[in-house]
């Protein structure tokens, strides 16, 4: 999502992007989408299947794309994905005069700490991360001391009419993200059951798709609240924003790896307070007791208490709603994000032209 937004906005700054991405679907290997050239290679699949022919073909194809595009900068989004293996091979084989920027999107877990991830973090001219937590996890793991900085993800601000100032009349809880255990949506379902058992007529909507949806549906059924839990699948962004604006609270009880909570930033932009777990960069997207609540990881009791408090105190809800709205504009605007990346690109290019070592800049 960030890259899609950046690509469009960067064009306005005179910066053109081409994207090489992984795919396991059946989409074309090459597309031009909104004037951005998109190359799709089956990067993870060929490695997972130990398909060496395809793996080698991918190395050559990625190398050919880089040669054809002749980029001024290689910007790698996340060092914990299959594509870094391919890039590592190209850099080791050919070396590269093209400066590398790495943006780390998640806080590294123990299992993420691979050799090639460390190498990519160390070899980048500039390391950025979408939250301070993600940045610290990358620098602590790699021992990197060269320049690095946090650039919070930016979101396109919604139309003003979506931003609300009053608590919705119905108690609607919302989760947005991939349907996987990591996201903790099962905790949100458990929390809904607990909240309803206290006589509060709340409901929960889940937006997204993923491998654990059936388990979440079964969980809701086992708790007897299937009629109060709606699974809407993937929606376009305006629909999601509209749902956020109609919701009382956005819940992000993620268990792991979260570098930044885009959903929480988007919910805040329409004045919806958020309750997030104290994981990775989530506490940076929500200011505890100001724009929502930050609750201990996997602590259902705290999650339930926070939901009940927000739903039961309209004054508190309105205060948090207003502060969330203001903070999202001050901290998470797309313009601010674009300016930060454009400045980073300029700095890296200028230092490369001067032949300076980045860490002495």
């Amino acid at each position: 999502m960030l890259v899609a937004d950046l690509s469009a906005a960067m064009r306005g700054c005179g910066i053109e992007m081409a994207v090489v991405t992984d795919t396991i679907g059946e989409l074309p290997r090459f597309d031009v989408i909104s004037d951005t050239r998109v190359y799709r290679l089956s990067l993870a699949k060929s490695l997972r299947n130990s398909n060496l022919q395809d793996t080698l073909a991918n190395i050559h194809e990625m190398s050919r794309i880089i040669a054809a595009e002749r980029p001024d900068i290689l910007h790698v989004h996340s060092a914990t994905q299959a594509s870094v293996f391919y890039l590592d091979r190209i850099l080791r084989k050919q070396g590269s005069q093209v400066p590398l920027i790495l943006t780390q999107h998640g806080a590294l877990e123990e299992s993420d700490k691979t050799q090639v991830t460390r190498r990519m973090i160390l070899e980048a001219r500039l390391l950025t991360a979408v939250s301070h937590a993600a940045l610290v996890s990358a620098t602590e793991f790699s021992g990197r001391t060269a320049d690095s900085r946090t650039i919070y993800n930016g979101i396109a601000m919604p139309p003003e009419f979506l931003a609300k100032r009053r608590m919705p009349p119905r108690h609607k809880l919302l989760c947005v993200g991939r349907m996987q255990r990591e996201k903790g949506f099962d905790l949100a379902i458990d929390a809904l059951a607990a909240v309803r058992s206290r006589g509060i007529d709340a409901e929960l909507t889940l937006v997204g798709y993923g491998e654990d949806q059936r388990r979440f549906e079964e969980r809701a059924a086992a708790l007897g609240i299937s009629q109060r839990v709606a699974f809407l699948g993937a929606l376009d962004r305006m629909e999601v924003r509209r749902l956020m604006a109609e919701s009382s609270i956005l819940l992000a009880p993620s268990r792991t790896r979260e570098g930044f909570c885009l959903a929480a930033a988007e919910a805040a932009s329409v004045g919806t307070p958020c309750i997030v777990s104290n994981v990775g960069g989530l506490p940076e997207t929500v200011e505890h007791e100001v724009t929502g609540f930050v609750v201990p990881n996997e602590e259902l009791g705290s999650l339930v208490r926070s939901i009940i408090q927000l739903l039961s105190e309209p004054g508190l809800w309105s205060h948090m709603s207003g502060r969330a709205y203001e903070r999202s504009r001050a901290r998470f605007s797309l313009d601010r994000c674009v300016d930060s990346y454009a400045a980073a690109y300029r700095e890296v290019l200028e230092n490369s032209k001067k032949g300076q070592k980045w860490d002495s800049a």
Binding site: V3, A4, V19, T21, D22, T23, I24, G25, L27, I33, S34, T36, V38, R40, A44, L47, R48, S50, L52, Q53, T55, L56, A57, I59, H60, H77, S78, T80, Q81, A82, V84, F85, D88, R89, R92, K93, H105, G106, E109, S111, D112, K113, T114, Q115, V116, T117, G177, R178, Q180, E182, K183, L232, G233, A234, L235, D236, E239, R257
Partner: protein, 143 residues
């Protein structure tokens, strides 16, 4: 001295000047290019150490004595990594096995080892890249 590759344990593939080897038993990936790829091709062809040295010296336009140590070092690492074993070798027409590529000057062959590739694939954040790749607009569902 020659070398043996246990096909039950090791798979490998070469494309142009790059080779990838997997030790299936350990899950480790090895990859090398240039001289490393040529060395591997000769090992696969059943060449002895002496044949490898002379073939590569000829292919790279250098003298055998100066590259023998580089080759012995690299081969020893491959043996330590369980990718190849020492064996009695049969004579092979090794020189004919090298692909016809433009070669640069000699550099010591190196295989980069990726011992935690599976961890990388497990870590690959499926929430960062959707199943259909970026960017993709999902069909608009009916609410």
């Amino acid at each position: 001295m020659g070398f043996r590759i246990d096909s039950n344990r090791v798979s490998h593939e070469r494309l142009q000047d790059e080779v990838i080897i997997i030790n299936v038993a350990t899950g480790s990936y090895f990859s090398g290019s240039g001289t490393a790829a040529d060395l591997w091709t000769l090992i696969v062809a059943g060449a002895s150490l002496d044949e490898i040295v002379s073939t590569l010296a000829s292919a790279y336009g250098t003298d055998a004595a100066s590259i023998r140590g580089d080759l012995e070092t690299c081969i020893a690492k491959l043996i330590d990594s369980g990718v190849i074993d020492g064996a009695d070798s049969a004579p092979a027409a090794a020189a004919e096995k090298l692909p016809d590529l433009q070669r640069s000057s000699w550099s010591p062959p190196v295989f980069d080892e990726y011992t935690d590739m599976w961890d990388l694939l497990q870590a690959d954040p499926i929430h960062d890249v959707s199943e259909t790749g970026w960017p993709y607009v999902h069909p608009r569902p009916t609410l």
